[in-house]
Amino acid sequence: MMPETTDVETINRRRMNVVLGVAVLLASSPILISYFVLIASSFTNQMITGGIMGQLIFTLQNWVLFFEGKLTVTAASVLSFWNILHYILNTFIVAFGVMIVVTVLATLAGYACSRMRFKGRKFLIQLLILLHAFPGVSLIIAVYALYIFSKQPLPQNLWTFYAFLYVIVARAALEVPMDVWIMKGFFDKVPWEVEWSALIDGASRIKVWKDIILPLVKPGIAAIAIFSFMAGWGALIYVMVFLPATEKTLATYIAGLLAGGSLEVVHLPIVAAAGTFYLIPTLAFFTFVRRYMLQTSLSGIKG
């Protein structure tokens, strides 16, 4: 990309920036306000909306109560700190699991789709594009039926472990077609000469892939790793369907808190603290996301 100075200054750039900046700011206001309400309310004694401003007090109480597993300020707690830690750990397990499965599968298959000649290659690549778009919900019934079937022969003490394994692979499967396609785009950009020189020296294909090509597509690997981690971290439907009710993640915990819309049962600022905590990885990756999104969309959709 060229520096801005090469543009001919026949238009008033400053005025354009101001007009567009204000317009987009107005359009963005629902996003800004709604995230502000969530995060700010987690630090106040009541929701910052609805109350009278004078009564708002800054407090860390909601965060303490959230980690203690309490739902209201006064009521006795049903859960303990260990339950909450358990849910957070479960969320991490699913997120890391999805990340590992997706990243390994996509870096392997993306390489083959980009670099190897085999029968049915074009068909496979088109199939992946189709699968990426395929309505996953229309399969979840059958995926669940398969799950029930396949867990029956297992001993009961393995069922929880199997549920985690299944939810990870099933959730990863939704991301795989797109990420293979994205990785293919990154492999396509590596010059063939790099690979030839190594192959001519007698190295095997797998060794070349591992030692020479992979380091060159690190940005692609980082991108799909972050995206698939976030997909697993935020997973709701699959976690809700496959994991037993005792094995909650932050998603199903929050979903359960507000089920039925019951306001009496739970102090809303505590939910805001839970939500803000759940949002931390998103905010941590915030600056990477735009760059990686642009990279993957450029190399991903075409070629």
């Binding site: 309400v37 969530l38 609805g50 399969l139 099933a170 735009r290 999104m293």
Partner: protein, 314 residues
């Protein structure tokens, strides 16, 4: 191809093929099979061997014709999909144009901000709008309107029968649109950036206005992307239901008028009647639309011609 080559190919493709066959190919056929069984309550052992022909499809067509709730599902699906699709594509285009003509120090944070909903866990994203549209006085929208004295008491935007169906539709369209536009924004923006800058500069030198640059350079050169975004957003709108599911479960949105087809399938199979046979029949419609639309998309977008041959495979 000798054995060693085959083994290497299996090493690279095997794991992916395993997952694709296990979670796409088999479920597709199994799902169609389940639609021919009376499966309920996930009793696979009892029902999976009973074959009842097209009975589920007859039932589905019957309720589509006579059940007003099912008619609400159909109308909601059509309105929700078409309006949100238009918002996603055109909104994404507008955002991409706006950020393209801005300085980078403005466009980078703005694009980041618009990508935030996409990266936010679904439960948190739904929570934002739970607070926003809440039917009591703590709802942000109610708070603002009451402060401005535009309304005197809180309104249940997505539930109050007086505002249905539009109240519920507005909420589900709004929250899905806000996530959806960022996809178009990123794809269009990347496409605009890949247009040689000289073209824009030359047009400026010749005295073309910004509007004419958009009309005659940027839009014609990104027609492929326009089709791509439209098709892909259509797919995701037909199938995304997680946010809507939570807002229905949390009593922010009416369960009849806030329920597109995909959510109906999910709730019928898992939460309400647990009638998997009927849900599978309803999901077969989605699969059929998915397959037909997908094949059309592959043809229209000419993917086959874009797939390069690996030139130097030895």
């Amino acid at each position: 191809m000798n054995l060693k080559k085959k083994l290497i190919l299996l090493f690279f493709l095997g794991p992916m093929l395993f997952v694709v066959i296990l979670f796409y190919v088999i479920p597709l056929f199994l799902s169609i099979y389940i639609s021919f069984t009376p499966m309920t309550d996930w009793n696979v052992n009892r029902y999976l061997t009973q074959f009842i022909g097209l009975a589920n499809y007859y039932r589905l067509i019957h309720i589509m014709m006579y059940d007003p709730d099912m008619r609400a599902v159909i109308i909601t699906t059509v309105v929700f999909t078409s309006v949100t699709l238009a918002i996603n594509v055109l909104g994404g285009l507008l955002l991409a144009l706006a950020t393209y003509f801005m300085d980078e120090r403005l466009s980078v944070p703005y694009q980041g901000l618009w990508l935030l909903p996409r990266m936010t866990p679904i439960a948190v994203y739904a929570l934002l709008w739970y607070y926003f549209f809440h039917s009591s006085g703590i709802g942000l929208l109610n708070t603002i309107l009451m402060r401005l004295h535009l309304i005197s008491h809180p309104i249940a935007w997505g539930l109050d029968p007086r505002y249905l169906p539009w109240g519920a539709w507005f909420i589900i369209i709004f929250i899905n649109g806000l996530v959806g536009v960022s996809y178009g924004m990123i794809i269009f923006y990347a496409a605009f950036k890949s247009i040689p800058k000289e073209l824009i500069v030359a047009a400026r030198v010749d005295g073309a206005s910004t509007f004419r640059i958009i009309r005659h350079i940027l839009l014609p050169l990104t027609r492929w992307h326009f089709t791509f975004i439209t098709v892909w957003q259509l797919f995701s709108l037909l199938t995304s239901f997680a946010q809507t599911y939570l807002l229905v479960a949390w009593r922010v949105v009416d369960s009849t008028w806030g329920q597109p087809w995909a959510l109906y399938v999910f709730r019928t199979a898992f939460t309400t009647t647990k009638d998997q046979g009927l849900a599978a029949a309803a999901s077969t419609f989605l699969s059929a639309i998915g397959i037909v639309l997908g094949i059309v998309a592959l043809k229209v977008l000419r993917y086959k011609e874009m797939i390069l041959e690996p030139k130097g495979d030895i």
